[in-house]
Symmetry: D2
Amino acid sequence: MCRWLAYSGTPIRLEELLYEPRFSLIDQSMHSRLGVETTNGDGVGVGWYGVDAPPLAEPALFRGTGPAWSDLNLRELARSTVSPLFLAHIRASTGTPVQQTNCHPFRHGNWLWLHNGCIREFARLKRDLVLAIDPALYPSIAGSTDSEVMFYLALTYGLRDRPALAVERMAGLVEYLGRAHGVENPLQMTVATTDGDRVWCFRYSSEGHSRSLFYSTEMSALVALYPENANLRRLSEETRLVVSEPLGELEGAWQPVPESSYGVIQKGDDELGRFEPVEP
Amino acid sequence: MCRWLAYSGTPIRLEELLYEPRFSLIDQSMHSRLGVETTNGDGVGVGWYGVDAPPLAEPALFRGTGPAWSDLNLRELARSTVSPLFLAHIRASTGTPVQQTNCHPFRHGNWLWLHNGCIREFARLKRDLVLAIDPALYPSIAGSTDSEVMFYLALTYGLRDRPALAVERMAGLVEYLGRAHGVENPLQMTVATTDGDRVWCFRYSSEGHSRSLFYSTEMSALVALYPENANLRRLSEETRLVVSEPLGELEGAWQPVPESSYGVIQKGDDELGRFEPVEP
Amino acid sequence: MCRWLAYSGTPIRLEELLYEPRFSLIDQSMHSRLGVETTNGDGVGVGWYGVDAPPLAEPALFRGTGPAWSDLNLRELARSTVSPLFLAHIRASTGTPVQQTNCHPFRHGNWLWLHNGCIREFARLKRDLVLAIDPALYPSIAGSTDSEVMFYLALTYGLRDRPALAVERMAGLVEYLGRAHGVENPLQMTVATTDGDRVWCFRYSSEGHSRSLFYSTEMSALVALYPENANLRRLSEETRLVVSEPLGELEGAWQPVPESSYGVIQKGDDELGRFEPVEP
Amino acid sequence: MCRWLAYSGTPIRLEELLYEPRFSLIDQSMHSRLGVETTNGDGVGVGWYGVDAPPLAEPALFRGTGPAWSDLNLRELARSTVSPLFLAHIRASTGTPVQQTNCHPFRHGNWLWLHNGCIREFARLKRDLVLAIDPALYPSIAGSTDSEVMFYLALTYGLRDRPALAVERMAGLVEYLGRAHGVENPLQMTVATTDGDRVWCFRYSSEGHSRSLFYSTEMSALVALYPENANLRRLSEETRLVVSEPLGELEGAWQPVPESSYGVIQKGDDELGRFEPVEP
């Protein structure tokens, strides 16, 4: 089981989230407590947008193939990089090779995408899924994971214009092809994707029993709960985190994302909507 | 430009060919003298069959992503492994990522395959080429190179039954699709492939100006030329090498493989035939 | 906590021990059940002697820096290599960098050495320990671990002539310098070392509470217990395994090595002796 | 032969120097034209200070063990990082292992150090050199290169207080021990070191025939020569580069550092002095 986080808000140093909380992402890679796979030593990745980056700027990527806990370059990067918007991911392979092109997040232009979960019996479904990808996008596929195929399907279905619908159509295709090939419960996913401005997060599985996903409580509510916490007061009201598992132990800080739903982190009010696969 | 060799004959220690000749394969990776790319630091691979391996046994593979010259595990492997039949390859990437799944040789069951050259504008042709691969073979594609796609096309076209024809059909498809997409001279290749018993080597390019390929002179002729050379006398009459560039400086040891032709190394007389792409 | 295994006896394919038993070494790296560190993803190594290798032949080494469970080259090597005598080790770093030169086993001439445990506060003791190494051996130190320093100290103290005494003198120096620097319980170790003929195994710790070590029951006794087990009948009476943790679940197959003792696996009767550090 | 570059001045994006000039550092790793070793595929490193970093802040490091030309993480880092002061290095090993702890620059507190050249017969001199390092610094040595030993000797001899003298004393020790051990011309070096404020560069060899080193002409002079060059006008008068080989082809842009001399890049006038080893 992979681990991930998405951060949007007041620019912070990456290490504050990746290394410092008691149950940080890197620490999780050593002691993943709830996961199916016992370790997350199959690669790590971070994608981040610069402070004051222009609209549609391509984010930067760091992707390592070793265990996150011993990646010195990641440690240095996290110490020296400040960002208002970033995604981080720690991988436990479900079978595809451990290589940089299989590490999340995946990038296409100004978009990033990461995924925890799987397409079941992906080897059997892969060809039909790949055939549905826009031929103009096809050459950009660099690795061999189900997660990257999901990204390019979503791009094919209009991720850049109507993101939630595009992901629903991607999920619908997986459900449809799964049924056609006799694969039970073909899709299990939590996903985060961003264009550098807004962040969309999804929680869904065919069987209605999806991997965990949490978002952080509004900052004003947290500050009211913990008026003495200087760290919280540094963060703008707009600041929001989404995580595969809660970081730290602040009571009241985390809300579960409901089954079969999605959220949008954006300026002004965030959104939460129902997620329903749209079959072809 | 990649470098490769194929050896078949009296079992020898891999290091005798990979490290010891004055212009060995590893040395070539440091000083590639004739190549287009100036170095070959993008990965290395060896595939070998065991001494007395049963028919149809899967060969073993070693594939490293660093430069060959500093790969200590390869050095140890070459020192400790004896084989009657092996292929070795040193990679200079023409663009696809440096990762283990892109290192040659590629393996499928008892077959190995390696390639020097390229499919020009592969990104544009890739989707159509991949669509032509047998859907049952499709899930076995692990990397992202043109070379591996060529292998699976050849398997699709009957490599296991009529190897030379299968490779001609693969080349014909590349020529056909190249023309359809307006790609001039789409194919450049030297290829070696083996089932663990025989070895097939191919030299072809659309433009009729293929990368170099050489095969070793018959051992009896070489021993007659160099009666004092004990190394040569150890090797059986059946022993044969095919190389992208001559190893060592033994006058008379190497014969160029002609343009647009293929050879078969096998028990009894070897064969040399004309190679002609067969379009679909 | 590292894991290791020493095998001596009837030549077997490495994979039979590294991959096939229910609790094999590689499996342990994913699910290390009893260890202090939760995973063993910091490197792997195997050192082996060839079948019919001449006396004093240098063994071969494979050392990888990634997690053992995803090392495809190790998987291939284990499948293709048969050996009558080999050591294997899976590393969980206690702080020194993850690099090939820090992976066990270490080699010097025909000798191999591996270690589970640590010299406590090694950074403080290291300079004095290294100063005690024979200046002629000093340039051979390639990595930065306590384990390799222990090996070169043992070589300095006569490992090649009186192995058990040399290791006792090494341990005595660690105890002596630990006391001088105010380090409590400076040494924790299980060690295996071999010259390609005999294997010496050690279990010792300053505090008298050493990490676990087990040796396999004599083959004749095992065959008597399990007359129907064909696997056991293949193995010569001389065959012996020493492991940091039992492999498989064969009742009666494993005997604990007592605290502060050492064993010698050799032709004829094996030995078991008391281990007592000899201070300078 | 390694390649390196030191930059100090107007903050710039790393990629402008590492990737964009016609003969950039990365390009040099592919086509090193003047070097002894034919390629520089044995690792790469960059150390940089942040914009507006406080005095004595620890710089950040990136060090990769593969060839620089295929290091995607370095490419991304260079694109996303702006710095007023950084060192970059591309390694061609002269024998020590290819591992992160052997990649330049080396760091100690707020200091960085990099080196091109060698201590001849380092294996023979190493023990005596290491013994001369301050025991309090000894545990910080992480790798196995001559270059890192030179750094810790310089720190031992007062690099933080009188940098030029400290390096002269380091060189004097190498000369002295070389003579004692019968090593002819023991030292060959160009070195750059910085505390985050000033940069010291050294060119010296025992034989008086040192590897090349160049510094950039004063910006005002360059702007006078090339009044139409907008790139040059962006850079402050204080901006200075030191390089192992000239970048680009701007006539008049580069001055050779004389034999046996050192330079200091600092606010106000830079310095150039004579370098003379000081023996113990």
